[in-house]
């Protein structure tokens, strides 16, 4: 990304208004540079996605690498997702008990917990946790391969690195995210229920029965499967940032950080769009 935000130092103190226009034009310039940089980044991301897509749908298929990556994404994320999901369950449980009892709606507790966890918090927390864990992992791994010419070596061996490295990682993220979301949801519900029973005994069976009363597949399935889109975002951005890295060890660090920041940001932005989309399509 180009940054044209250089500040010119005038030789003599210009009149007040002159300095102001200069500052304004500098600000406008760097804003323009930022916008330009953003569009350039987005354009390159689009080209990268197209390359990966084209490589992914044509043989040879890299099944072995895909399985390795599924294992990698799953096993790396599992412990963090379990912990984050459980913590979210407890937090919602505490908050819900407090708010609901203030409005005298304590009987709503199971449904509140179930809906908050499965519809709202489970997917987004899983998305963010995996962005951090897997996004950084893919970004750093591919970046270090790039700066040590290992990706060039793969290409020189007549192997398409978009197919072998990027496509497998992106697909692994797409496939694993919904599964990890289910894990996170399950931990959230279990720990949320557990936190509640410590104060007010409630059988798990009863809790589940009340919580899912009146729920259909439409209530939960789209919310769980939308996380496949998060997977696409995480895998795509991390692979892209990794494979375009330049500049030694420093570049590797930057790629890892950028992968996490951008993937998290776009997961949240995608959530906004997807929530609206799901409300319209699955009323």
């Amino acid at each position: 990304m180009s940054n044209s935000g250089s500040i010119a130092v005038p030789a003599i103190n210009p009149p007040h208004s002159g300095r102001r226009t200069e500052l304004l034009s500098t600000a406008a310039n760097s804003a323009a540079g930022l916008v330009e940089g953003f569009f350039e980044w987005f354009g390159n991301l689009g080209i990268f996605f197209w390359q990966v897509l084209r490589a992914a749908v044509t043989p040879p298929y890299e099944w072995r690498e895909l399985i390795r990556q599924l294992d990698e994404v799953g096993s790396k994320s599992f412990p963090v997702v379990v912990m984050a999901g459980s913590a979210i369950g407890v937090i919602i449980s505490l908050e819900a008990r407090y708010s609901l009892s203030r409005f005298g709606a304590k009987s709503m507790f199971p449904a509140t917990l179930v809906y908050s966890v499965i519809q709202v918090m489970g997917p987004i927390i899983t998305g963010l946790v995996v962005s951090g864990r897997v996004g950084a992992g893919i970004g750093a791994e591919l970046a270090s391969m790039k700066v040590t010419e290992q990706i060039d070596a793969i290409e020189a061996s007549a192997i398409n690195p978009y197919r072998l490295l990027a496509a497998t990682r992106i697909l692994a993220c797409i496939l694993m995210l919904p599964l990890l979301t289910l894990v996170s949801d399950a931990c959230g519900l279990l720990m949320g229920w557990f936190a509640q029973t410590l104060v007010e005994p409630l059988s798990f069976h009863q809790f589940i029965q009340d919580g899912f009363k009146g729920a259909t597949f439409n209530t939960f399935l789209p919310q769980t499967f939308k996380t496949a889109v998060y997977g696409l975002i995480i895998g795509l951005i991390a692979s892209f940032q990794g494979m375009r890295t330049r500049g030694g060890a420093e570049g590797v660090g930057r790629a890892a950080t950028n992968s996490v920041v951008l993937a998290s940001l776009f997961v949240i932005l995608a959530d906004v769009v997807l929530v609206k989309f799901i409300l319209v399509v699955f009323p």
Partner: protein, 262 residues
């Protein structure tokens, strides 16, 4: 009408007859930003021939090799491999051509998550799917033996020295029995004995398999041993191209200095 197949057959025949070059680089230009690296380079290599590329550090020898295998795109000019221009070729089409090429990177570029043996086996795993596991293992052992690294197959690249990494990189480049060999300083960082062994190996391959090779080197002795022709690069141009004797007889100041100081 001549089909692409006819043209390919004709090219192959001419290559065998030694008329058409296997690698033909025409008027290559490459800049990075405002930094001009190659300024109109033309070179060609025939079947069974080794071209040594010499030049000061930073003149663009590695960039030239990377352009020949399509890792870098030139600003203008053409690179023909077996008569086909590869500039701007899509990655999978390029892959078909790269299967016939072996490339040794200046810094070896071994896969650091794989062992030495797995590094050498990597191209075989991907392109010789019909090979059984034991056949592959045998081939890897044979390749490692050729570069004098037989005992180190289980080690990780980070646990072996730079010169050893270079030799493993060479074994990997030879795995698919390429017709074209591009080597970026194969003997740099090697002791005289190992470096003599590598020279012998390159000579043997050239004799037995009639490979076309481009070897970048700083080692004048090795260049003299393995190369049929030498090309000396300076400031983006080929200063002189010819046999070692041609270079010795040249009265271009840069060539004299280069030979005297090497």
């Amino acid at each position: 009408m001549a089909t692409a197949y006819d043209i390919a057959i004709k090219q192959e025949q001419s290559e065998k007859d030694g008329i058409a070059p296997v690698i033909a680089v025409e008027n290559l230009r490459k800049t990075f930003g405002s930094h001009m690296v190659l300024n109109g380079i033309s070179l060609s290599v025939n079947r069974g021939e080794t071209l040594a590329v010499l030049g000061r550090s930073g003149t663009g020898k590695s960039v030239l090799l990377r352009i020949i295998i399509g890792l870098e795109t030139p600003d203008s000019g053409s690179v023909c491999i077996h008569g086909q221009n590869i500039v701007g070729l899509a990655i999978d089409r390029m892959g078909e051509i790269r299967k016939k090429m072996g490339f040794l990177f200046q810094h070896a570029a071994l896969y650091d998550s794989l062992t030495v043996a797995e590094n050498v086996a990597f191209p075989l795993v991907h392109h010789r799917k019909e090979m059984s596991r034991s056949e592959r293992g045998e081939r890897v052992n044979q390749l490692l033996a050729e570069v004098g690294m037989k005992g180190d197959f289980g080690k990780m690249p980070s646990d072996i020295s730079g010169g050893m990494q270079k030799r493993v990189g060479l074994a990997r480049a030879l795995a698919l029995e390429p017709e074209i060999l591009l080597l970026d300083e194969p003997t740099a960082g090697l002791d005289p004995i190992s470096s003599g062994e590598i020279d012998d190996l390159i000579l043997k391959l050239q004799r037995e398999r009639k490979m076309a090779s481009v070897v970048v080197t700083h080692d004048l002795h090795s260049a003299k041993t393995i190369a049929n022709r030498l090309a000396l690069l300076d400031q983006g141009n080929v200063v002189i191209e010819g046999t070692f004797e041609d270079l010795q007889q040249s009265n271009i100041g840069f060539v004299e200095d280069f030979l005297k100081l090497s």
